[in-house]
């Protein structure tokens, strides 16, 4: 099962055990920065110890459409009453959020009378969890003949671990 191509992924954002956003596109990048240890008299690099880790993500969503609803729980609340409230939220709370990526799996399958398989039930299993994520930028766009979309990008502090 694990070797199957991931054809039906879902990137749902959970907060307080409920889905707050459904993402259209989602991508992440993890980077390990390494230092070259070189020496005189040797063409080759002796070793490359890792010196820092960083993770970034970007996400596109066409829903929820309302600008009042944050794409991720913990994002800046745009229904702040004034500039000071906005600043205080950013500086005092600086909240992080969790992104949970699900995969769709067959939950139930039956053999029909003509001998063919028929999926009668599916389930969403957790594929990966990204914790301590922070947003860096948010973009909103609306164009003729298309739905409005919101994109955000940010970073996360913990390495992504697959849930077995």
């Amino acid at each position: 099962m694990a070797a199957k191509t991931m054809t039906a992924p879902l990137a749902l954002v959970y907060s307080n055990n409920k889905v707050v956003s459904l993402l259209k596109n989602f991508s992440w990048t993890e980077t390990l920065q390494r230092q070259d240890v070189r020496e005189l008299g040797n063409l080759m690099t002796v070793e490359v110890p890792a010196v820092s880790y960083s993770g970034t993500f970007s996400a596109d969503s066409s829903m929820p459409f309302s600008l009042e609803s944050p794409l991720f729980d913990g994002q800046v609340n745009r229904i702040a009453q004034n500039n000071l409230q906005y600043q205080d939220t950013v500086t005092l709370l600086n909240p992080s959020f969790v992104i949970t990526i699900l995969k769709k799996e067959v939950a139930n399958i039956i053999i029909t009378a003509n001998g063919q398989e028929l999926v009668t039930g599916t389930q969403n299993l957790i594929f990966a969890v990204i914790t301590r994520a922070f947003w860096d930028s948010e973009n909103f766009s609306i164009a003729e003949a298309s739905v409005g979309s919101r994109n955000i990008s940010g970073r996360f502090l913990d390495p992504i671990l697959y849930v077995q």
Partner: protein, 247 residues
């Protein structure tokens, strides 16, 4: 004529490749030290009787070496002309080294004492992890101890001495750490210590050691270098074993 020159060059090149292939660049350099360099650096601590206390063969060569010779002549202008004052005596000069030892385990074989929490001692203490295996950080600590010991007195009340060997420039000198020496680590090179030190060469090492002592010392340095180079591969495996033992 041109063919003769090219032929001589090719012949020399064949001889060099043959010797290097048979004996290695180390022995080629030992046999012809002013013709072939070998990139090995060593800092040896000896007592006032020139007995070896600890030999530190750099497990990773420095990334930067600067040998700075001062001007030998002082020129004075007078009313009647110019006087140049020189000396045939040895003129001290500066050697600056900087680099890093990385992070992996290195095998540090010294024919002298071992370094542990008590300093350089002749006997191993049972609570030592392994005095012959050092991480990059451990190598920096050895370097720090060597520089600190060079300011201390031995059993006879005389100063320990530091001998610096630079086989890549065929130099062996008695040195003292005169400039600031720094050990640095930063977020950009996280958990990888770098060193930078300036030594002043105050006398040729052959003035302190007998020919036999010099030959033995160079032999030890070459052996240690060979072991260190081979051990860099083994250290990766050793690191895995150490990791497995940790809870």
């Amino acid at each position: 004529m041109a063919f003769g020159v090219v032929g001589a060059l090719l012949s020399a090149q064949r001889k060099m490749v043959s010797l290097a292939g048979q004996a290695g660049m180390g022995l080629l350099s030992a046999q012809y030290p002013d013709d072939f360099e070998h990139y090995v650096f060593s800092l040896d601590l000896v007592d006032s009787s020139s007995r070896l206390v600890y030999s530190f063969v750099f497990p990773v060569n420095p990334q930067n070496v600067v040998i700075n010779h001062p001007t030998l002549w002082t020129v004075k202008r007078s009313n009647q002309g110019v006087a140049a004052i020189g000396t045939p005596a040895f003129v001290p000069f500066e050697i600056s080294l900087s680099g890093t030892f990385g992070r992996q385990l290195k095998l540090m074989e010294s024919p002298g004492a071992v370094l542990n929490a008590q300093g350089f001692v002749r006997q191993r203490v049972i609570r030592d992890f392994d005095t012959s295996v050092k991480t990059g950080y451990g190598c920096v600590k050895v370097l720090e101890k060597l520089l600190a010991y060079s300011r201390q007195l031995d059993d006879t009340g005389n100063f320990y001495r530091l001998l610096f060997t630079n086989m890549s420039f065929n130099q062996q000198f008695l040195v003292v750490p005169t400039g600031n020496y720094t050990f640095s680590v930063s977020a950009e090179s996280n958990m990888v210590y770098a060193y930078s030190l300036t030594l002043k060469a105050i006398a040729p090492a052959n003035g302190l050691l007998t020919e036999e002592q010099t030959r033995k010392r160079i032999g030890n340095i070459m052996n240690a270098n060979t072991i260190t180079e081979a051990s860099n591969i083994l250290a990766d495996a050793a690191r895995g074993i150490v990791s497995d033992l940790l809870p």
